[in-house]
């Protein structure tokens, strides 16, 4: 192997870092392979370099668009790179300026109560950032709110105002976070662009990664086809791996004969076929309250797909209380009809959420299912009344079952703002799950066999 210049190894290391920041898993061994591969190709041919790096660093089809983008941005001619950095610096500066202006503006509004606001309610940099990103209308509304409070003679209004403003900003931050990926797209020179993986995917594939909340009606047929494909594939995998062998207790002739060759072929020591691992019992508890209805539609469609492909999932929906919906899936009708039946006959659709009551009902009426072979899949955004009791009850149940998996449509970055999420995470494995991609990955990797 020929020796490359040290810049080459540095460039490869940096590029791998960019890939990792973009969510591609690259091991050290693979990096070394890529480095070795460069010795065999024509380094002056960009297409060859790209093909070589791709072959050794990217091992999944869905990571390829991310790679393409990262490669095109990383291996730029000098001037283009300079220009990109300049643009990035300009944008950073503009942002800083905006922040400073917003800081001053808000400080002026808070002026009258300057001394009365406790440290913990002072606006943080994060709050200010959120403020600058708000639509102008919202900014104005907030400022007016603060101004109105000026004439308010309540005791120490400063603290109250600061708390209200902070709460409003936290609320907004959570919603803005979701759109974050689409907004920040000029890269930082340091790690040369943490490219958001969702962003650079082929538009044809985009739907797999799209937030289920934003699926438009005209995309539904496409979505349905995709769900059918995914769930059939998953069910196929499950049945292949976990089907109970009919011969599970039969003698394994080959191994028996082999064992007994030493006795002249007389079968003295018998060998049996091993028992196949038993398939877990999947129990889905799906939140269909107002805030969750749209997600749940797709989750149920996914489960419907699994059911019709032969993978049985015991399914329940809840909002104010719990209802069993497995029979709907067993009627073998198409999904639209199943859903219509379900929505017409169920009293839960679009209500408020009481997870505690739902769990209580489950424990009372389906006690038998709380067994060591059960895997609970809970789909909910954790916004429920009585969450403390619910967490306690769930913890109790979790000890008796094999696993509790929580699919949360709120992106993980938003969890710190949800106290209930923290409580539920103590007794359940919680995964963010707002796109079909998440759903498929979790079923593939996390739902045990």
């Amino acid at each position: 192997m020929q020796n490359h210049a040290p810049e080459m190894s540095l460039a490869i290391a940096k590029f791998v870092r960019v890939l990792r920041l973009s969510g591609v898993r690259v091991s050290v061994a693979e990096t070394m392979d890529a480095y070795r591969a460069l010795a065999w190709i024509d380094l002056l041919d960009r297409r060859q370099v790209k093909a070589a790096l791709q072959a050794l660093l990217i091992k999944n089809p869905h990571e390829r668009p991310v790679f393409d983008r990262a490669f095109d941005l990383f291996f730029l001619p000098g001037e283009a790179k300079e220009e990109l950095f300049a643009r990035w610096r300009r944008q950073k500066e503009a942002e800083e300026q905006k922040l400073r202006a917003a800081g001053q503006e808000l400080a002026q509004l808070f002026q009258p109560w300057q001394g009365y606001i406790p440290e913990k309610y002072r606006l943080t940099r994060e709050n200010l950032q959120t403020f600058t990103r708000l639509p102008a209308r919202e900014q104005k509304r907030l400022k007016e709110l603060i101004a109105q409070m000026r004439g308010n003679p309540v005791n120490n209004p400063g603290e109250l105002v600061a708390r209200v403003v902070q709460a409003a900003l936290n609320y907004w931050r959570y919603y803005l976070l979701k759109r974050e990926a689409e907004e920040k797209e000029v890269p930082s020179p340091e790690d040369l662009f943490p490219v958001s993986a969702d962003f650079y995917r082929d538009p044809g594939e985009q739907i797999l990664y799209a937030d289920l909340q934003n699926i438009q009606d005209e995309q539904l047929p496409k979505m349905t086809a995709l769900i059918r494909r995914l769930s059939a594939r998953l069910a196929g995998r499950l049945s292949r791996r976990y089907r109970q062998s009919r011969r599970s207790l039969a003698i394994d002739f080959r191994r028996t004969i082999r064992q007994n060759v030493r006795y002249g072929g007389t079968p003295l020591e018998l060998r049996y076929r091993g028992r196949r691992p038993k398939r877990p019992r999947l129990i889905l508890i799906c939140d269909v309250s107002a805030s969750m209805a749209r997600y749940s539609r797709f989750v149920l469609q996914f489960i419907y797909g699994l059911n019709s492909a032969g993978q049985k999932v015991e399914s329940y929906i809840f909002s104010e209380d719990l209802e069993r919906v497995t029979p709907y899936f067993e009627r073998r009708r198409d999904f639209a009809a199943t859903m219509t039946d379900l929505m017409n006959e169920s009293r839960q659709w679009g209500q408020t959420t009481n997870f505690y009551l739902a769990l209580e009902t489950f424990r009372r009426e389906y006690k038998k299912l709380i067994a060591p072979d059960a895997v609970f899949i809970i789909v909910s955004d954790t916004r429920t009344v009585c969450w403390e009791q619910a967490a306690g009850l769930l913890g109790e149940m979790a000890r008796k079952v094999r696993d509790v998996i929580w699919l949360n449509p709120v992106p993980a970055a938003g969890w710190p703002g949800l106290p209930a999420a923290a409580a539920f995470r103590k007794c359940a494995q919680m995964y963010e799950c707002y796109s079909l991609y998440h759903l498929e990955k979790i079923f593939q990797k996390k739902i045990p066999g």
Partner: protein, 317 residues
């Protein structure tokens, strides 16, 4: 035999009838040079298995194929003792009253049934080992497989450790039905085969079914490309299917697509009744024919790429 350069390999592959672009040639070349297994993934019928076959032709060496299926185990993949023969031997020894010392001879090479993996390891020349549809095996076997692929040696208790005389060229293919383990992926050079664009498909058809003629070939490529862009289809037509279709049309003496021969041969392209119904009722054969004749320069694929580029460009501008 690996003295080829990248362009030479590319040419050799095409000469053997495997039309590929430079990226694929580089990937295959690196797998050969780095001595690593080549993992080929893609939808069914895009030519994954063909990579292994064509490599054996290019390298002028034997192709050893291991077809994977559910329940495949070491006995079927690696080696097995010929029990029947061993038992016969025991009987013969009993009859002739030979000494017990001959027991070791029961485990001689003549009683060993070589299965593809062992055959590849013991081969005198560097062979091509094609492990087809490796996503179909169970996880434990997959683990065994990548252990074997990392050091190319096998321990047989009765014979000792056998090390490969020549490290074989390994090609693994997968339909992606089951996610392969990260360990296996890490050890491989990765090649993803996508459905080809119209131009590439034209070249493939020209190489494989030259008797179809220029016009028919282009039409076939356009129709297949168009149908692949339809997300509603349960099974998109693959290259293998468009090749079959071309052969079928040639057999019918067709020189260009008409509504009639499209009607009779659609089942060569779409192997699913629902898909056929969908195309017949929703798109309509006449419309399908028209859309392809109008847009001779590569309809959906190129458009999609263009839209894709525009979207990325705008966001970054």
């Amino acid at each position: 035999m690996l003295d080829l350069s990248i362009p030479e390999l590319h040419k050799a592959l095409e000469r053997e009838g495997y039309i590929c672009d430079l990226e694929q040639a580089v990937t295959i070349y690196l797998a050969l040079k780095l001595g690593k297994p080549l993992l080929v993934e893609g939808a069914p019928g895009v030519g994954k298995t063909e990579v292994g076959k064509v490599l054996s032709r290019v390298l002028q060496t034997e192709l050893i194929r291991l077809q994977c299926y559910e329940g495949l185990d070491e006995n079927k993949a690696l080696y097995e003792w010929n029990y029947q023969r061993q038992l016969l031997k025991i009987q013969v020894l009993k009859e002739t009253g030979c000494a017990a010392g001959d027991e070791t001879s029961l485990f001689g090479p003549e009683y060993l049934l070589e299965r593809p993996l062992l055959k590849a390891i013991r081969a005198d020349r560097r062979v091509v080992l094609l492990i087809d549809e490796c996503d179909k095996v169970d996880e434990p076997f997959e683990a065994f497989l990548f252990e074997l692929l990392s050091d190319f040696q096998v321990s047989i208790p009765e014979l000792g450790t056998l090390t490969a005389r020549q490290v074989p060229v390994v090609v693994l293919t997968s339909n992606g039905e089951r996610e392969l383990s990260d360990g296996l992926r890490r050890r491989c050079v990765y090649l993803y085969l996508d459905y080809p664009g119209v131009e590439k498909e034209v070249r493939i058809l020209q190489a494989r079914v030259p008797e179809a003629g220029e016009k028919l070939i282009r039409q076939i490529a356009l129709v297949s490309g168009y149908l692949r862009s339809q997300a509603d289809l349960k099974k998109r037509p693959s290259i293998a299917e468009s090749l079959d279709w071309a052969r079928a049309l040639v057999a019918l003496n067709a020189h260009c697509l008409t509504e009639e021969n499209l009607h009779f041969t659609l089942n060569m392209l779409l192997k699913n009744q629902d898909d056929q119904d969908l195309v017949r009722s929703k798109i309509g054969l006449a419309a399908l024919l028209n859309s392809c004749q109008k847009n001779e320069t590569g309809p959906q694929a190129a458009d999609r790429q263009e839209a894709c580029r525009a979207a990325y460009g705008c966001r970054h501008a």
